[in-house]
Amino acid sequence: MELYQKTIHEIASDLKAKKVSSVELTKATMAHLKAVEPKVQSFITVTEEVALAQAAEADKRLASGSNLTPLTGVPLGIKDLLCTKGVQTTCASKMLEGFKPPYNATVVERLNAAGAIMVGKTNMDEFAMGSSTETSYYQKTKNPWNLSCVPGGSSGGSASCVSADQAFGSLGSDTGGSIRQPAALCGIVGLKPTYGRVSRYGLIAFASSLDQIGPMTKDVEDCALMMNVIAGHDEKDSTSANVAVPDYTVEMKKSIKGLKIGIPKEFFPEGMNPEVTEATKKAIEQLKSLGSEVHEISLPHSPYSLAAYYVLAPSEASSNLARYDGVRYGLRVPGENIVEMYSKTRAAGFGPEVKRRIMLGTYALSSGYYDAYYLKALKVRRLIKQDYDQAFEKVDVIVTPTVPNPAFKFGEKTDNPLTMYLEDIFTISINIAGVPALSLPCGLSKTDLPIGLQIIGKPFDEGTLLKAAYAYEQSTDWHRRKPTLKES
């Protein structure tokens, strides 16, 4: 096994035992990254210089043996909507080409403090709007399991780089499924924490009340390790919660005997891909055999979540993205007057999906439509949240498929935005309710495409989520399967 193929917890013990230095590891990882990058195209920016400098620092820490964390010296990928001081942060948009933030996102600061290494900024859907990473202005990221398929999105590059061993783990962000769906499609673990669990400071906002940063890793233990570093209150983010953070690696290993698992009937609609249905049912059986109890439950308002989401998220986005006006940073297309400059800049800087959502949101918030759309959607949001509250009075976690289908081909869903939006049908209500959920591999289709299992937890109960995921993972070997980078 090559060094770069290992997990974080495996390589961390190698580093600690001085079997390898961080510089050696970073160089090896970087070499592999570059070798496969022409095929996969995970990164908008590869930060080799930064990585090697950080690795040299990490080696000092490793040599001294003090102040070590499991991430010290470990190469990671960072989604290109997380601000990195002095390093281009584009949101995969032409609008922010060349934009170098003067500050680090809080999660980046925390990774730096833990001694982690940044190998690059990963590709994504433009401003995180999409489910295939095809809306990126820069490039099309390929699914390492089948290069003619999409990696999912919006955190497509963060998923593909972990799947293809270009990094040991990565940070993604999830507004309606943007961590879990690509994790499922690329056969890795991805966690969207409870809203408020991880600071959003420095995350370039898509929809502020839904966005949440989370880890994307090769297995559940790595996910717990990264959560230990990034979770917790941040005074720079008023919406980050002041709730104690447990050691997730300890929580993860607790027994699932008697764990109550809810299966919502609404998440197994007719006509769903039979391979996904089968893999999910098998996984549920597996969890049962490990000692958990399975109950059928109902989340009656989940059919309305997609509609509510496509009012709430674009509304917030229309406001969040208004600042890209060509005045202070990023792209500016000159005009005869200020309004013309705004119009030309925004016409040239944003891609079609971003424009579509800005228009949707602007419309929904407009005078005369606000009550019918935005306010109504807020009411639906309350009902969806209530569904989850009531469900969690009966069960500890909820298990569903992550995505109705395995990865699809490039261009397959770009003509009709609605088919693309349906990719998030199982993930979106989780963001609306603000609860945590993760996706982990639970099978492969006949054509060797990964299938993801979604486990949903109570607010701030990521520990139980990870426990269920870990127990399942340890009894299977899906997470050890590696993609072959084959062409269709």
């Binding site: 500050y103 995350l203 918030l365």
Partner: protein, 486 residues
């Protein structure tokens, strides 16, 4: 229609910059006048990814304003985004409050020549200030003729409270009185420096007119962003006349924003950029709602100083002042405090008030002095009042003594003594002089006897002259009458 038959209906929106040390959502200082863009950070520049964090002191100041304007303080309020594009607004939205303002339903009592009037305060909400644009090049320094604009974000994110009045104001004088009273309160509770030249107090006026006796409001115009009470008064007066002229011609007033042009002394229609905005307000998702503990709200209420209105009423009762005088003396907190100390040191607080508002105010204005620059304290001025009341010196002498007091800080008793000013109030001494004067002016005495009562003034003058002005004029008058009438 005769101009007098129109009734103006006026509502004011006042933007007050709070004097917190740091901005509303970040740690940048709020100091005025520093080099452009030196008091900025990623947060107040609205850089991608940044988030606001509420300044607790700003909330405290805003609640104090609510209390002092007799508002209900919302136990639950929230921030909203007001969306519009302008280069001085780096996020392209202003974080403000829409349907759940921090303070609402209050009032402010004003005093005008017609008496006291209560003006409703609709709301006083918290929001962030925008940056400033400098329109460079071109002829007028105005946007329409400039070659390019420079943006200074030092002011961006400074906390503001917007205080909105009900349309209860009926004249430019009432508007002026409202603004004066409001500024006085804001200074009393120490939440703003109210420096109008630096823009820390700015006013928009909504003006309409209607036929006297009718209920329905006329179409209003909004005169934006005035930074002087004088301009507000002038602009309102101009606007009332302009609207009356429009209606008299049989035309309709257009609802629009207007600017007060200080060089031409007229209101002017603003450009189309300000036309009917749809601000698309929605709750600011980056901030949590403001939920205030009732005990905290009550604590802030208890801690408020005595406000101008209450002080004014108390001065009227305690010191027998007229509402007008009490109003003048309480308009500034320091002046009120200074007066009250002195008023308690004399038996004649009204006389003391007259000196403070009269000669003392005049000298302070003339010599550009403030209370802290005075060379004397209240005790010495009270001494002067008492010396006058005792009849020791006359009013002309009193003015002379006051000047010595004001300019040199010499105690009035000492001035009177050193200048030998003490009035002669000894009846025998006066009688002697009176006798002498009557003897020297027999013709005048005859005139008086013959019914020409007015000549008594001439005789008093002669006595005063003979006594070198020291004789008590009141006594001189009485003694002459007594002698002539006996």
């Amino acid at each position: 229609m005769p101009f007098e038959d129109y009734e103006p209906v006026i509502g004011l929106e006042v933007h007050c910059e709070l004097k917190t040390a740091t901005k509303l959502f970040c740690g940048c200082p709020t100091t005025f006048g520093n080099e452009a863009n030196t008091q900025v950070c990623p947060v107040c520049l609205g850089l991608p990814g940044t988030l606001p964090v509420m300044n607790g002191k700003a909330v405290e100041f805003a609640v104090k304003i609510g209390h002092s304007l007799n508002c209900t303080i919302a136990s639950y309020s929230k921030m909203d985004r007001k969306n519009y594009y302008y280069p001085d607004l780096p996020k392209a939205y202003q974080v403000s409050q829409y349907d759940k303002p921090l303070n609402y339903g209050g009032y402010l009592d004003i005093v005008t020549k017609e008496g006291t009037k209560r003006i409703g305060v609709t709301r006083a909400h918290l929001e962030e200030d925008a940056g400033k644009l400098v329109h460079a090049g071109g002829k007028s320094g105005r946007l329409d003729s400039s070659d390019y604009s420079l943006a200074d974000y030092n002011r961006g994110g400074i906390p503001l409270v917007e205080i909105v009045s009900e349309p209860d104001i009926r004249s430019s004088d009432e508007a002026h009185a409202y603004l004066t009273a409001l500024k006085s309160i804001l200074l009393y509770i120490d939440v703003s420096d109210c420096n109008m030249e630096e823009g820390s107090l700015r006013c928009d006026a909504n003006v309409s007119i209607r036929k006297k006796g009718t209920e329905k409001f006329g179409t209003r115009t909004e005169i934006k962003n005035m930074n002087s009470f004088k301009f507000v008064k002038q602009a309102i007066e101009y606007e009332i006349k302009r609207q009356a002229g429009v209606l008299d011609k049989g035309e309709r007033v257009i609802q629009e924003s207007r600017l007060w042009d200080v060089t031409e002394n007229k209101t002017k229609s603003m450009r189309s950029k300000e036309e009917a905005h749809d601000y698309r307000y929605f709750p600011e998702p980056d901030l949590v709602p403001i939920i205030l503990d009732p005990a905290y709200v009550q604590k802030l209420k208890v801690e408020l100083p005595e406000l101008p209105g209450a002080k004014r009423a108390r001065f009227e009762t305690d010191f027998g002042l007229t509402p007008y005088d009490a109003g003048v003396l309480t308009s500034e907190q320091e002046l009120g405090k200074w007066f009250e100390v002195g008023a308690k040191l004399t038996k004649n607080p009204k006389g003391f008030a007259n000196w403070v508002m009269g000669d003392m105010a005049a000298q302070m204005k003339e010599q550009e002095k403030e209370l802290k620059d005075l060379k004397f304290d209240q005790k010495k001025l009270a001494e002067l009042v008492d010396i006058i009341d005792a009849g020791t010196i006359n009013s002309k002498q009193a003015k002379e003594v006051f000047l010595e007091l004001f300019n040199e800080g010499v105690s009035p008793a000492e001035v009177v003594k050193s200048k030998g000013m003490a009035q002669v109030s000894d009846p025998k001494a006066i009688e002697a002089v009176v006798g002498k004067v009557l003897d020297e002016n027999p013709n005048v005495v005859v005139d008086y006897m013959g019914g020409k009562q007015g000549v008594i003034g001439f005789l008093v003058g002669k006595v005063m002259q003979a006594s070198q002005g020291k004789a008590n004029p009141k006594m001189v008058n009485e003694i002459i009458k007594k002698k002539l009438d006996s």
